[in-house]
Symmetry: D2
Subunit: 241 residues, 4 copies
């Protein structure tokens, strides 16, 4: 069996090289994510960052990517419009994409979902409980009915997403908020998953259940088929006119 080829993309700018981040993710959170993904025998993950040539998202790399994981926060605007469109195009042609945490304001997320990325937020290191709403969904396999992250950034409703294909997880926050924290969409040939946890100063991606969700999401988003550029063909009649 061929492994699922994953690229973990991270903006990885100066904001992630501060001591409070490197204390948690010495090589960057993208390397931490690729690290646990590579422990799964069905997955082969590599990383890419904004400072790479072509912002880490060359056509060659995307040719070789079944599922893209996206982490961005402070530098959304630095992503070229053309590169964002390239990613959107690849998703429409079948590449799976998993948006993590603050990727809700990334260009590909906003363009794929037609949203402003609106939500409310709070950095207070509060407790969150993540509840499984879609029992039996492939992304929830092996995930308990609810699990706790002791310290996370709060993201709260109203979340400006269109009605999801399925609402897999809903989060409770200590400070009184709720959030649809795991939601699926389909865009032409490609599957999209958004997952809320993952503030850069919290060890969220070292959390075993969070890792399991992301592994599940990669397997779910792995395309059954990827196709070439999408066109609007002029077609002859099949029946007599």
């Amino acid at each position: 069996m061929n492994k699922i080829k994953v690229t973990v993309w991270n903006e990885y700018g100066e904001s992630q090289k501060k001591p409070e981040v490197t204390a948690v993710y010495p090589q960057g959170l993208h390397e931490a994510i690729a690290g646990f993904l590579n422990k799964d025998p069905e997955i082969q993950a590599k990383t890419a960052v904004l400072a790479d040539p072509e912002q880490g998202l060359s056509e060659t790399l995307l040719d070789d990517t079944d599922v893209l994981i996206w982490w961005g926060h402070v530098y959304h605007d630095k992503v070229d419009d053309a590169i964002a469109r390239r990613v959107v195009d690849r998703v429409q042609r079948g590449m799976g994409i998993v948006f993590l945490h603050s990727a809700h304001k990334s260009k590909p997320f906003m363009q794929l979902l037609g949203t402003s990325g609106r939500l409310c937020w709070r950095e207070a290191n509060e407790k969150t409980r993540i509840w499984t709403a879609a029992s039996g969904h492939p992304i929830a396999v092996g995930i308990p009915e609810q699990f706790v992250i002791d310290h996370e950034e709060m993201y709260g409703e109203p979340f400006g997403i269109p009605e999801p294909l399925q609402t897999v997880f809903i989060s409770w926050f200590q400070g009184g908020n709720v959030f649809r924290s795991g939601v699926t969409f389909k865009k032409e040939y490609g599957k999209v998953f958004y997952f809320q946890p993952g503030h850069e100063t919290n060890p969220t991606y070292h959390h075993e259940t969070v890792q399991k969700v992301i592994v599940n999401a990669v397997k779910w988003a792995n395309p059954v088929v990827k196709v070439g550029p999408l066109t609007c063909p002029n077609v002859p009649p099949l029946e007599k006119l």
Copy 2:
């Protein structure tokens, strides 16, 4: 303009005639609900209960009902299968229906949604915050981004509903749970809304914002058209074979 004809149906059995209930709803919660509905100039509400002839749901009454509100809890099994089917049939033909609180285990709810009505619950009079997830939905008009009910029964995820047409409200509970507390569905010609608050020993239906949600739901569920019995007609070809 014709008023929207609403029937508020309540099982209203012995369990609702205990002092802890009558202290809150002396005439029954159905009368309280009809009471605030009738303050709206567009609505004309009456009530019906399980002890009425034909369990309060005669064909004549349903002929005269645009939107049915359903409250049941302890006596779900007392509703005749034929009466439940009659209600389901009316919804499919256009009658709106608003299921309140423990109606998630009523026969019409389970049959319309194909669900077991599964959820988890706790009677602890805890605080709940109801968040608007679907900004701009007609049922959320005039409802703040979130509002509090100080004491309610907890209903929690996983809630065994199919993916809603729209998730209008999501609730936070003090004890650590979340719940999709306001969800819409459409069944053939009819609109369906489920709304979680309303334990019989809490003054929830005296809460102004709860009242506003139910008024909005009635207006939203009011059918644009009601039709006769649904059939599978044998039809001639429209084009030459």
Copy 3:
């Protein structure tokens, strides 16, 4: 790897023992369906019919079924209410179900989807073209953009289903009708697929592409998990009240 255990259920009454049916399906269409399913190395299919003990749907058999295929037409009413409820319960607990052709009026279909099963129809042996609307859906893998069945019964819109999770196929009929002929739903833990082709006097289940769709549907509906009876547990608070 364990094979997917499929039970192909067929009412298989007198109407299917007439010469015009046995000419096409000498052992019954359920045997034809099980036959092509068993050619797939991942599937192990058996059959059951209405005349069997417990109407062919004993708890023991359902314990041993991952995906149930349902074909019924003339004898929908002969299926006991309790047996229909048993099937519905199993789907809610994870068993996949594939409804074929006239199963749109079967008790399990109507109860799972909350529909009257309404559609229009015509027996004129006309041509139908089945178009793939959901490109890249697992049920559409290997299925061409459109394929032809030369002679089929027409089923036409309006089809009284709730909005599908995904509309996989839409059919064109020679006589001027259209139909959402392949649609998916999810009910608690279980996946549901309805597929329109398959009139009993047409050799539809000998059609290679139809067979491929049904094989794909079985693999898609195969549950990631099956669970015991669904309940509404009373749960303690997770946070201090």
Copy 4:
């Protein structure tokens, strides 16, 4: 009652000033559409075209628009990215939008739906039958179960849209194709409707039933509320941390 303020926007370039178009729409199809809309006592429609200042879509005009109707085909690329984003932003903030015919490749359509706008097409002046799939939907009120347009451009599946909120119409084409020709979406506060008929050399917008659909769509898309720019506020905790 305040009237619904509609702006009918049309690219209205050279391609619409050829004799075969002006024979059908002497003042442009936007004027024809505004004309029949203005016959409805609840609607007040004006027009705007690409050649107008700010491409006809100034902030002032959008401030004064409840529902925008969009017709474009040959000059999609001439619409400035900033103007397209402005329209998308207005929809997210509540403005309704009705995309007609070839608007499936317009920038606002592709950005709101995250689609490439993919479909197949044919200019053969063939017959199309438009079937109502969502009985009882406000856009289908007063529309027969099916109606005919004698000569239209064919648009066919696969149509690269995400799963609609509701599939209101599905079209049959003489040449053997089908198409989800009337589909609804919701994007944050705003409602979106796409309607397929309307090739510029056919008198489609003079067709009484087509006019009725567009009038219905305007009333359905009329926002219950419009809001200011959407933001991601930093919010304090509501409960003690």
